[in-house]
Amino acid sequence: MNTNANVSSNTVPTPAFRREFDDAVRALREKILTLDCRLAIERFIALSDELKVRTVPVRKQLLETRLDWTDDERALGRWMHSANQRMGNLGRRLVTVATKKMEEADETVVNVMARSLQHIGNGIKAELADGPVSGRDYRELHALMRLAISLDCAKVKLTLSVQGTPMSVSIEALYFRAMLLARFANGAISMPQIEILDWWIWQWREVLQSVTQPRGANCLRVDLESSGGLRLGPRTDGLPALYLPVEPIVEAHRWIVADFHAGRQDRSASPAAALPVAEHVAVLEVLRNGLSRGEQGIGTRDPRRPSDSRVEVLVDLPEIMAKGFATPGASSNSLLAIEGGAQRHERHTAIGGVYEQSKRMLQLCDESDTGFGLEGSAESCRSIAIGTLVGIRPSPSQPLQICRVMRRLAGGDTGRVTLGVRRISSAAQLLPVTSESSRASSATLLFVPGEDSSGSQDGFLVADSLLRERTKFESRLDDGVYAFRFNRVRQKGRGWSLAGIEIVSVRDRPSPHGSLRA
């Protein structure tokens, strides 16, 4: 393919360029058996370079977009995904053909193998733009790794360009990079977050080394003859497997944490490094959970019960508080957060606006003891992201279910979005309070009872901004006025926290005769 000299590589590829590129890949694939191997490899490498260069501005644009993607951006993401997948597939075919035709596989074949693995990994990252992957097939990846093992080049290192930076990396590290990305790119991680994860994996490439025997129970495993991805724990059927020791990755994770403690972060090192610290902290948590699960064995999923109804979904804390607890005919006096008198009128007007919004109806697909599966149009799910707080009332007789969005998968061409939400509480209640910091101001907080009758797991769902102040709150209940403070965050999402409390004091206890003291 001839690069169009009139189009800068810093610009997002146009639809015409994308078509031209796809045609070139298709043409090379069709001629792969008849073309001279050297020439085919040369053309593959040229296409690979082209794709790498032209997807840099795409990734940059998608990462910088804070709002939901436009249709054009979605199309770019899908192309990035499919183009990388096709290049991975083409590269694997080329290596297979070349090893048969050539007397000895030289470094150019190893280069094609490495680039193929890199493209497959890049494609997995872009999967988030292309919707849910049902039953991802890993045979392409395994086939490349089997080829590398048979050619005795799995541990061979070569230099690849990674986001414009030359990096020395082994074939097996590229393979495990793709496998790790696939393990985490399951809808529980956003596009910026997977870019951060990928950047870290590149830094860890030295520790992504396979071993043939498990080192303890905490290991990741690949069964090369299967179509499955990374699994946890040793193989039990006696067949051979490749193992990726977890401890070096855990150690690398510790180093990242240590760097944050020291404030060491070169924000200019890559677009991923420049992303907000909060995104990095979220990825650290995803990794921590993903790696520690290995110690506990494979987690089981709660049984799901199919459902087929439409439910109203309230999004974010203000809407949940304003609409989720309103009784018919009630005024909009349910305040959203701490507010002073001056703010109250404006806030009430805003709440009125909330009431005027049309309902956001989603399909309830299934439910389990711990959460729900929902589906809706891209439009109705536009403001819902991973970590968003949602309120769902599965039926009029059931209490409002307050949940956190754990997975969000855009359905590619279908325009449907699939959500997986985990229940936080089905017994939340609004509680009027006064705050110490601004005397005489009233507010309403959302109380979430814990499972434990001791109250030690009780908390409030609050906006993050509220936690910046160390305010003492008071609330009158039937047996006195309780004063409390937030003392830690027990769970966190987009703009909200489930904050634990400590009861500081109780006053105005009822007298023995049953009435409250003045």
Partner: protein, 196 residues
């Protein structure tokens, strides 16, 4: 108080997580503070907040009780690294390592603690706990005599994590929980009546 890293003795390797952090420039401090504010939301907003020893230890204990030991130890680790001159976070961190029966972690911490707080009156107690976990470690050998007079597999634990003996706060928490349950029940009755 910052301890100069040159005070370290090469013969005494420091526990990895508790090395004092070097003085940070503005950019590094901003990154660290953003990390602390996100990771320990509601507990600390920046590195300076971690100097509030009592608050930090209480939060660490609550994380530990909430089955989040990694949060608890990390909070204390960064508090120690930023303010290594304060004994209390060290001791709380040691107690958590002891409660987790993590002998390697405890040993590393104990050696580092001894390095930074040679004159600490708490060392005898640290050695006593250390001896229970690692009786072969010469650093804890002096505690052997005190162990022989004790009965039971584990020594009594100190209360460096500030677990309160006064249960008033816990009782209040349970009362609050129950009062909120009564409130929910009272609120649901009219709805039930309407539905009927």
């Amino acid at each position: 108080m910052k301890i100069d890293s040159t005070q370290r003795s090469s013969a005494e390797p420091l526990h990895g997580a508790t090395k004092p952090l070097p003085e940070a420039d503005d950019a590094a401090r901003a990154v660290r503070d953003a990390y602390i504010a996100t990771r320990f939301a509601g507990v600390a907003r920046c590195g300076e907040d971690l100097a509030e020893t009592e608050r930090v230890i209480r939060a660490a204990r609550l994380y530990f009780e909430d089955s989040q030991p990694a949060m608890a130890t990390e909070l204390l680790d960064i508090a120690i690294a930023l303010h290594p001159g304060r004994e209390e976070p060290w001791l709380a961190r040691l107690e958590l390592a002891f409660l987790a029966r993590n002998a390697a972690d405890f040993r590393g911490l104990a050696h580092a603690f001894k390095h930074f707080h040679r004159a600490s009156s708490a060392w005898k107690e640290v050695a006593r706990l250390g001896y229970a976990l690692s009786p072969d470690d010469p650093a804890f050998a002096a505690a052997a005599d005190s162990q022989s007079s004790r009965y039971g597999p584990w020594p009594d634990t100190p209360n460096w994590i500030q677990a309160t003996w006064d249960l008033t706060s816990e009782v209040r928490g349970a009362e609050f929980h129950n009062a909120m349950l009564r409130r929910a029940t009272a609120a649901s009755l009219p709805q039930v009546a309407r539905a009927a």
